[in-house]
């Protein structure tokens, strides 16, 4: 996501939160992580700032941490890392960072890009691990 260099983390966080209110959580939102499949990058209970701007402008890229509807239970929202993007079929492979503790594309296959709308941008909780995702 394009943003000015030099913004310090906490400032970005505050601006992000403020922007979040103004756009009514359509562009920015805060979510809590449940489960350990993204360890050690994300741990259960981590709280994240997520944004939906980027994927309106371009497709998700390999390496990004994204929210996606669970293809088997669409009302559930998953958080996983993009392992591969196939532009031809418009789908992405999602994997957990801890493969032994993850149910992901190895099991349910690639997911349509259209079901990936949010990108995990920033962890604001817990305080000792604040930073970009």
């Amino acid at each position: 996501m394009a943003r000015a260099r030099g913004l310090s983390g906490p400032l970005f966080l505050v601006l992000g939160m403020a922007a979040g209110i103004t756009v009514g959580r359509r562009w920015l939102d805060v979510v809590e992580v449940r489960g350990g499949s993204m360890a050690p990058s994300l741990l259960p209970g981590d709280r994240l700032l997520v944004e939906s701007r980027t994927y309106r402008l371009r497709a998700p890229r390999r390496g990004e941490v994204v929210l996606a509807a669970d293809p088997r239970t669409p009302e559930r929202e998953l958080i996983k890392r993009v392992a591969a993007v196939d532009d031809a079929s418009g789908s992405a492979e999602l994997l957990g960072d801890d493969p032994a503790a993850s149910t992901d594309s190895r099991e349910f296959g690639a997911v349509p890009l259209a079901t990936i709308r949010w990108r995990a941008a920033y962890r604001y909780w817990p305080p000792q691990r604040v930073g970009r995702v």
């Binding site: 939160m17 209110i21 939102d29 809590e32 449940r34 350990g36 499949s37 259960p44 998953l78």
Partner: protein
Amino acid sequence: MLTIRSLMRPSRIVDAHCDIPCGIYDPEQARIEAESCLRIIEKHDASEDKLFRARCIHVKEERAELVKHHLDVLWHDYFKPEHLEKYPDLHDTFWKASKQASKVKQSLDAAAARELLAMIDTIDEMWKATGGPEKTRVNGRPS
């Protein structure tokens, strides 16, 4: 009123999930049912009571079916592609063990039941070598 606290409250939960329910796996579950099969076959063979023998057959078939179920769960839920890289014969091992469980279900062959136990022990070794005891059992059980 909007406070920092309310702003920081997550609007929803996102799942870095591993399949619900529990991620608890242990080949011991299959082994206990297979041990039941073996013991029931022995009791069947030692008895003259027709009714008892009929019950033995009935219960043994149920237990053998449970062996197959527990093996299936381990096979498609616990074991993952990276385990297959480490154990290229993983699928074959499970396939043969399931077939062996069918054999135990169909017959009263104690040797077949012992063979099934040995096959489950092979799977148990794979489970242990892939970190199963640490990852898929709850710690703290008195030993």
